[in-house]
């Protein structure tokens, strides 16, 4: 006779109760992740940035970055196939590494999603302003400020009203935006070359590698589905698939967009790297100037969908930190009817909107503001990805399910992410980004020290997730079948 294991006492309700459990369809979860990565915006903007280092090898940089994103997705899937979290990578990291590392991941994600949401609002406002100007409207600062206020508060209201509704809006907007992008790029790719192809300087392997970091930045936000673990139907299947497929789809779209632009500028001295606004230039050269307003429209929509998706994720990270007892408990409250973390949303959204509107009214130029916000966000995500990839094999070892592919994936991706992080810090040297990151890191450390001193028990037990409750188990002694 073998010993029968003892069934541990199960909770009557999940520690993350209050959110609508198991309600989101797979497509809705997938749409959130895709919107977080905002491939439309990445298709239009990133190839030119990558081309500065990678030149004719731009497509290769994107291919490598896609491979890396898929590796990160595989590390994330080690967790999401086994647990349903609401705190995204933060809750996952907590199951592998110590509370300090988990806390660092939480802080990095707050910075990442906060800055990404702000960047998405700014980006949307930028392209909306461009669209209004192109259609002969006013160029006053009131357009972007108004857009940020209206869309920001609108995103907040949708996020508050219910994750299902906001997921559906995001799905629709993103679908239109990507279709628009595919049509535009398909048309441009089909256009005859403007002249004989000029010899491009060979970027070499170094150039391609240097291009990987900006290419990787095109993927940030692709892991947003991890924050919807408890709200997704069949989460152990849906969430890992959503993250992996988002990495694959975004990668494909970016490779396609990069190829279109590299080919389009092959006959121009300096190539793609010398372009400020590559897609409108290509459209004008092809004799389709009317494509540009369509492009602006697509980008505006994509950015605003991204703002909505990141608001949902940001609120859920705060919610989870509060349920863990390290953030103000009010953030852990949920709306009785809408089943959303309404307090967290109601605090986060006005802060973002007021902050951005103030910057714009004060005369900060939109372009540099967008770049600044995106760069800071990238820093946060690089830290969070690094920690979750490091945590994956440790977690598997802890539950006794370690396999060699998990170790292999981590030992490949972790040194690369570390190198990317170093390259990132070096590249931002001397810019306000470093100061901002230092200030944010300082704030996070202060917060952690405060939590360790005031709430040591909570910090030690950090990492709530939507665990199995009595009602999920068949034949639990406390319950009739």
């Amino acid at each position: 006779m073998r010993d029968r294991p003892v069934l541990p006492r199960l909770r009557e309700r999940s520690p993350v109760h209050g959110l609508r459990r198991r309600g989101l369809a797979p497509l809705e979860v997938f749409a959130q992740s895709v919107s977080g990565a905002a491939p439309s915006a990445a298709m239009a903007a990133t190839p030119a940035i990558v081309a500065v280092s990678a030149g004719g090898g731009t497509v290769w940089s994107f291919a490598v970055a896609t491979g890396l994103a898929l590796l990160v997705a595989s590390c994330i899937a080690r967790f999401t196939r086994r647990m349903a979290a609401t705190g995204g990578l933060y809750s996952l990291t907590a199951k592998g590494l110590n509370p300090g590392a988990a806390f660092a991941s939480g802080a990095a994600l707050l910075v990442g999603y906060g800055m990404l949401a702000a960047a998405a609002l700014t980006g949307g406002a930028t392209y909306l302003q461009a669209l209004v100007a192109r259609l002969g409207g006013s160029v006053s600062v009131l357009v972007p400020v108004g857009a940020v206020v209206v869309v920001g508060l609108g995103a907040g209201a949708l996020a508050l009203r219910g994750v299902r509704l906001s997921a559906r809006v995001v799905l629709l907007v993103e679908l239109v935006s990507i279709t628009l992008m595919l049509a535009i790029f398909g048309l441009l790719l089909a256009a005859p070359p403007a002249g004989p192809e000029l010899p491009q300087p060979d970027p070499g392997l170094g150039g391609v590698i240097a291009g990987v970091l900006p290419a990787l930045a095109a993927f940030i936000g692709f892991e947003i589905a991890t924050a919807l673990g408890s709200e997704a139907r069949r989460p152990f299947r849906t969430v890992p698939r959503a993250v992996t497929w988002t990495a694959a789809v975004s990668g494909l779209l970016c490779v396609f967009a990069a190829q279109t632009q590299v080919v389009g500028f092959a006959s121009v001295p300096g190539g793609l790297a010398a372009q400020d606004a590559p897609v409108p230039t290509l459209a004008a050269a092809g004799g389709w100037p009317w494509l540009t307003p369509l492009l602006d429209l697509g980008l505006t929509m994509s950015f605003f969908a991204c703002a909505l998706a990141t608001t949902n994720a940001l609120a859920r990270i705060l919610f989870s930190l509060a349920r863990d007892g390290v953030a103000p408990r009010a953030f852990g409250r949920t709306h009785p009817r809408f089943a959303t973390p309404h307090v967290a949303i109601a605090v986060v959204v006005p802060v973002l909107v007021v902050g951005l509107a103030t910057c714009m009214v004060a005369g900060v130029a939109l372009g540099p503001l967008l770049v600044f916000l995106l760069t800071v966000a990238t820093g946060g995500f690089l830290v969070a990805y690094l920690l979750v990839c490091l945590a994956a094999p440790v977690f598997l070892r802890r539950i006794g399910e370690l396999t060699w592919p998990a170790v292999a994936a981590t030992s490949i991706i972790v040194p690369i992410l570390l190198a990317a992080l170093v390259a990132y810090v070096v590249a931002s040297g001397g810019t306000p980004v470093v100061a901002a990151l230092a200030a944010l890191a300082g704030a996070a450390v202060t917060w952690f020290v405060w939590a360790r001193v005031r709430r040591p028990r909570e910090v030690a037990a950090i990492g709530v997730y939507d665990e199995t409750v009595a009602a999920d188990v068949l034949g639990d002694p406390g319950r009739a079948a």
Partner: protein, 251 residues
């Protein structure tokens, strides 16, 4: 938007994978809740990577659940659907309440249990024979009792196997069904008028446990389809009153 069934056609050419998955399920039952992946792999002499993959698959499909330590496994609620529901006779006191209602109304009064995720009639009205038990169990979406069960489950789509049309009134689209299910969840009463048999209809209310409010049974009135569509305010009040009395007796 999505169907409950996997769109990929199963070739049926992976008999070993299917056999191994069933062996894993059996081992979890035999070893009892809390058994770990390593223990299952050792007991079945199955490669570890294969065991982990099958376990993750079965957890993904919710036949198994991971316990809060994330190491141990137990049977999930969905596994109940693999077993034939056992019809248990309700306690005498509960039957008394049902009989009392039968004495007050001229309609058929049926009591159903929802164990194993199926409608099982545990006290059908002897004077007004209900529809075939197999039909009720198989097509929960066409009966009022079945709709109570569906409205209680966030994943009700998984329980609806086939939208079979019985009469011209049968709900035949998932979106329309979703509206009906939402209504049931909102109003706390389910009805169907001539959807299973053109001349019959049914009203059903949930019987809930007094403490946590979980669904333990359903109490239904069946009668002429034309009468079911009426508001029947007094009848519904009577039905609810008896359902409330049944709660503590069946929980």
């Amino acid at each position: 938007m999505t169907t409950p069934r996997d769109p990929l056609p199963l070739s049926g050419r992976q008999p070993r994978a299917v056999r191994s998955a069933l062996a894993v399920l059996e081992e979890v039952v035999a070893a009892g809740p809390g058994v770990t992946a390593k223990e299952i792999s050792a007991a079945l002499k199955m490669p570890q990577a294969t065991t982990y993959r099958l376990l993750n698959l079965l957890v993904g499909e919710e036949y198994l659940v991971r316990l809060p330590d994330l190491k141990g496994f137990a049977l999930g609620r969905r596994a109940a659907r693999l077993a034939v529901p056992v019809t248990t006779t309700p306690p005498t006191a509960a039957r008394g309440v049902v009989d009392h209602l039968r004495g007050l109304v001229r309609w058929g009064v049926h009591l159903a249990a929802f164990g194993s995720g199926q409608v099982t009639l545990v006290d059908p009205d002897p004077d007004h024979p209900p529809s075939d038990a197999a039909l009720l169990a198989r097509y929960p979406q066409v009966s009022a009792l079945g709709r109570l069960l569906l409205a209680d489950q966030p994943e009700w789509r998984a329980l609806v196997r086939e939208l079979r049309v019985f009469t011209e009134h049968t709900v035949s689209s998932t979106s329309e069904l979703a509206v009906r299910i939402d209504e049931v969840a909102h109003d706390g009463i389910a009805r169907q008028c001539g959807e299973l048999r053109a001349d019959r209809g049914c009203l059903a209310v949930p019987v809930r446990a007094p403490g946590d409010g979980r669904l333990v049974a359903g109490l239904a009135l069946s009668g002429p389809a034309s009468r079911v569509a009426d508001p029947n305010t007094e009848l519904v009040a009577l039905l609810r009153e008896h359902a409330d009395r049944l709660g503590p007796l069946l929980a």
